[in-house]
């Protein structure tokens, strides 16, 4: 690959100055004038209940109230992959906090006050708050209409059960594989739910104008997907894609939580109810926790066989996911894991069952890592335990099984390039793997842990991207894309790709956040795919512009196009060193001819990208035959931790993480993703600890009781390592890395705990309390009390992994 001048260098963020001066506008910073109305929702106090009656009369008479809306006004469902989510609860409520009605008033205070006056009569139903209960024969059903929901063809819901989706992957003959094994380990791991906690809660203002046009200003990762989902759900109002416009200013953090549609559709229907006046709806921190989406909890059984020499012969990986009250997005997390739960290893015989289960808890969906953090906890813990049992170094065990380019994946397709062995070497070197470190304090002990990771974007096979580029009079440019700047630096990276092709400085390219009426199409900003997918579209648009620059210059100056090239914002000639035509001299006004005519005109270009090689049409029983994933990004992380042997308290002395970015278009932004992802991952590993009461109420929906890291809770040293094995179909060889950086955190910590203290924790989070109990010989499962982290209680080793009623 030829040398690059802008790609591969750490350009200054195009949004940097706006963000440190307060100029950056987020959705609630937009002003809508004195006509703005405010909404508050009425929420269910029950996890599962039939709605008998909703009495809105008192609320309607309250001061300032202009309208009260219920499900009777908007009896529709919606969803990104399956339409199982209700705009307002209709016949029944399915989780504590579900929206039943909304009050629209002149002020936020009046809306809130009146919402408390809405009287709802319920008949409580037995709540489904246990995966085992949800899966037994004759279970109480959350969605009796499951078979009727619209869905994508690669979801397999089981009507008449609580199973929203079941992804099965079968490769080889596991029975034969286990026969070949010298050692087999089987055990169960649990990972609770987690909350995204972007610092900006969800917010949407919607306006249905008198001409029937619906505009939403939303805090969202998915403007186009939102428009599409709403056009489908709101079709009964005659709304088409042309009538709906979604504008997304800067977003104050997403992490997957602002992908797809959640509360935005409530704002949309409230605006429809109040034609002619804008309506604002914004979630409180508490609502952000319980009524957007959470990360799913999971219980996973892993059975793995190995030879004495370390080769893995077979893997059976069964995962039961607590999806919550709707699975319109969460089922795709389950699907992604069902295809990839081998981890980055070549395993000849594989059986994966990933089962998405409805429960009466808040809905779940995408969260940075998309299921991979969850399954890697068990898998990468399991590998260390196997290594110990067969007397092999755990890194050596991973080396012997590490996946390489061309290896056959569990679903039959071939692995893409990626340097997993290089990542392991880099991390092992950085944390001096194999060398014991002693604490200077007698009550403390130091341990080391490593874990590998991989992840693919989970996209529909037609998740496409596009880009428009145009010149301004002075040779500056506007780049239009609709990937979302959620902090990762997307806008800057796209400007760098265009800048590289066109030799225009990044600082001369303005690239802004999306507006579905005006910007180029992008499916949505998820799966760490936009650098890759949208980057390809931007590169194509830039090549289109380049072609026009040269063609116009050739025609206007009577030169051969083949002799011309771009350099320093000018067209130059290989044949004539004296020729140099600055872009600014002709990109709008054209090139003046001796007779006074002008040749050329405003130069612009377009580009698009479709991953044309992907298909989800594999066999539902085996997943063989499809090519559902575009590529995997691989890497490795390692940690050095000092533990207090009495209290279990941990000080993280050093973390190193190596990821194969293909090509780091902006290395500083890649390092930013690594450092941020490690800290977020460590928080989920060590202390973010969601708790539900036995009746399904979320107990800690705030930052006082659900701890996210502060500046005082960071590792003493973080070493980001970037590897670059080019992705052949990526822009300049790039592939995504954003989500990957938090995947290894939990298993690497579990492995370090065992290294230092000899105890193995199999239940996340790996709190100091759990370590201290384990050191005292107390089984945490015996003393954990009755609050839940997800729909599971009891001892993980007793969980049967059964599905009743003969369903398979």
């Amino acid at each position: 690959m030829s040398r690059t001048h802008i790609v591969g260098h750490s350009a200054i963020r195009v949004d940097g100055l706006a963000k440190v001066t307060g100029a950056a506008q987020y959705v609630d910073d937009l002003e809508f004038g004195p006509g703005l109305l405010h909404a508050a929702v009425v929420e269910s106090p029950h996890a599962h209940a039939e709605i008998l009656k909703i009495d809105t009369r008192a609320a309607e008479k309250a001061p300032g109230v202009v309208r009260v809306v219920t499900g009777a006004d908007f009896p529709y469902t919606f969803g990104l992959y399956m339409s199982d989510r209700y705009i307002f609860a209709m016949d029944r409520v399915r989780f504590v906090g579900e929206q039943i009605a909304a009050v629209i008033a002149e002020t936020p205070e009046e809306a809130l006050r009146a919402a408390k006056l809405v009287k709802v009569a319920y008949r409580p139903l037995p709540p489904v708050l246990s995966l085992a209960e949800a899966l037994k024969k004759d279970a109480v059903l959350l969605h009796p209409k499951l078979g009727e929901y619209q869905r994508v063809p690669w979801f397999y819901p089981k009507a008449g059960t609580n199973i929203a989706h079941w992804r099965k992957t079968r490769k080889g003959d596991p029975a034969e594989g286990f026969k070949q094994a010298d050692y087999i380990l089987e055990d169960t791991y649990t990972v609770p739910r987690y909350a995204h906690c972007p610092i900006e809660p969800h917010a949407t203002t919607a306006f249905f104008d008198m001409s029937g046009r619906l505009t939403l200003w939303a805090s969202s990762q998915s403007p186009f997907a939102q428009r599409d989902v709403m056009a489908i759900a709101l079709k009964p109002f005659g709304l088409t894609h042309r009538d709906i416009r979604v504008v997304t200013p800067y977003v104050g953090g997403g992490f997957g939580g602002k992908a797809g549609v959640s509360m935005e559709i409530i704002a949309a229907v409230l605006a429809i109810a109040m034609k002619g006046r804008p309506v604002r709806l914004h979630w409180t921190r508490e609502q952000e926790f319980r009524n957007t989406s959470q990360r799913q909890g999971v219980i996973a059984r892993i059975k793995m066989g190995v030879r004495k020499t370390g080769e893995i012969t077979a893997l059976e990986h069964t995962l039961h996911w607590d999806a919550g009250a709707s699975a319109e997005y969460g089922a795709n997390v389950v699907n992604a894991v069902g295809l990839s739960a081998t981890g980055p290893y070549r395993i000849p015989h594989v059986k994966i069952d990933s089962v998405c289960v409805y429960t009466n808890m808040p809905p779940c969906g995408a969260y940075r890592g998309f299921g991979y953090s969850e399954f890697h906890f068990g898998l990468e813990s399991h590998l260390n335990r196997i290594a110990k049992a067969i007397g092999m170094d755990p890194v050596e065990l991973r080396r012997r099984n590490a996946i390489r380019e061309g290896d056959t994946l569990a679903y039959g397709a071939a692995m893409n390039p990626g340097n997993l062995l290089g990542a392991m070497d880099a991390v092992a070197g950085e944390i001096q793997w194999g060398r014991k470190k002693k604490s200077k304090k007698s009550h403390k002990v130091i341990g080391k842990g490593m874990a590998c990771f991989w992840k693919a974007p989970a996209l529909p096979p037609n998740a496409s991207s596009s880009a428009y580029l145009k010149f301004n009079e002075d040779g500056s440019m506007n780049l239009s894309v609709s990937g979302m700047e959620i902090g990762q630096g997307f806008l800057t990276v796209m400007a760098q790709v265009a800048a590289e092709v066109l030799t225009v400085p990044v600082a001369k390219i303005r690239v802004e956040t999306p507006d579905t009426d005006r910007n180029a199409y992008e499916w949505q900003t998820v799966g760490s795919h936009v650098t890759w997918g949208c980057g390809n579209a931007v590169r194509a648009a830039a090549e289109d512009v380049k072609k026009k620059l040269i063609a116009t210059a050739a025609r206007g100056t009577k030169r051969k196009a083949a002799d011309l090239y771009l350099q320093d914002e000018c067209v130059k000639s290989r044949k004539d060193a004296s020729f140099s035509l600055p872009f600014r001299d002709y990109v709008i006004s054209g090139i003046m001819q001796p007779d006074g005519r002008f040749i050329g005109g405003p130069i612009h270009g377009t580009g698009m990208f479709m991953p044309e090689f992907t298909t989800t049409q594999g066999d539902p029983e085996t997943s063989q035959g499809g090519h559902p994933n575009v590529h995997y990004t691989v890497g490795c992380a390692g940690v050095i931790v000092e533990f207090d042997k009495e209290t279990g308290k941990m000080d993280i002395l050093k973390v190193a993480l190596a990821v194969d970015a293909g090509k780091a278009i902006n290395p500083q932004l890649v390092r930013g993703q690594i450092v941020g992802g490690i800290v977020q991952g460590l928080a989920t590993a060590l202390y973010e600890d969601i708790r539900y009461a036995p009746d399904g109420r979320l107990l800690n929906p705030n930052f006082t009781d659900y701890k996210i890291p502060t500046a005082l809770d960071c590792p003493a040293e973080i070493v980001p390592i970037i590897l670059e094995t080019p992705q052949p179909d990526g822009p300049f060889g790039a592939r995504g890395i954003g989500e990957h950086t938090m995947i290894a955190s939990a298993p690497m910590m579990a492995n370090a705990i065992e290294d230092a203290l000899g105890v193995r924790l199999k239940t996340m989070p790996l709190t100091a309390e759990k370590i201290a109990l384990a050191l005292k010989g107390i089984d945490y499962e015996e003393v954990k009390g009755d609050s839940l982290g997800f729909c599971f209680r009891g001892r993980p080793c007793d969980y049967p992994f059964e599905v009743g009623g003969g369903i398979s």
């Binding site: 630096g489 930013g672 705030n702 006082t704 500046a711 960071c714 003493a716």
Partner: protein
């Protein structure tokens, strides 16, 4: 019940009618068109609403508007009035912030720290920012940049001194 209050907002005298229950954050954002202080939690946990009250960093969501009568309130809009300061420039140069939602609070909290302690240790910086939650950056680039800006300023004032300060483990 409403009362008119007077205070300095970003160096200019302002008056506004406020109700007893209204917070400074509500009034700045809702009545005065000042949007850089953000609401992230509404209960003093996240620090996104940080503003300076007579130079001290406070939570806009925990201060009642009536309390600021006669005082000086500074938001990010006021800090950068004469062009971005050295700290803001360093944050831009280092590509420090990601989503940027916490940035107004962090910039103000860091400015207040550097005004009170021109040469803080890393530990002091981390403590001063412990009430400003950031979900994106892992804090490291923020802390390092503040440290570097303080060192540079000190270097300009006095003769360049001894070894760099030791990293304090957290």
């Amino acid at each position: 019940m409403k009362k008119e209050i007077f205070f300095q907002l970003n160096g200019e005298p302002r008056r506004v009618d406020v109700a007893p229950h209204e917070t400074l954050l509500d009034v700045l954002r809702g009545k005065m068109g000042v949007h850089s202080p953000k609401e992230g939690c509404g209960r003093g946990d996240c620090g996104a609403c940080t503003v300076l009250l007579d130079g001290k960093a406070v939570r806009g969501c925990l201060v009642l508007a009536m309390e600021v009568e006669g005082q000086a309130v500074t938001t990010l809009e006021g800090l950068g009035r004469d062009g971005p300061r050295a700290l803001q420039e360093a944050f831009v140069e280092g590509n420090v912030f990601q989503c940027g939602f916490c940035a107004p609070g962090v910039v103000l909290a860091a400015s207040a720290l550097l005004a009170a302690h021109p040469d803080p240790t890393e530990r002091q910086i981390r403590e001063a920012l412990a009430g400003n939650l950031c979900r994106c950056t892992g804090y490291e680039p923020i802390v390092k940049t503040i440290l570097a800006v303080a060192k540079k300023k000190k270097g300009r004032k006095a003769k360049p001194s001894s070894a760099p300060s030791r990293r304090t483990a957290s």
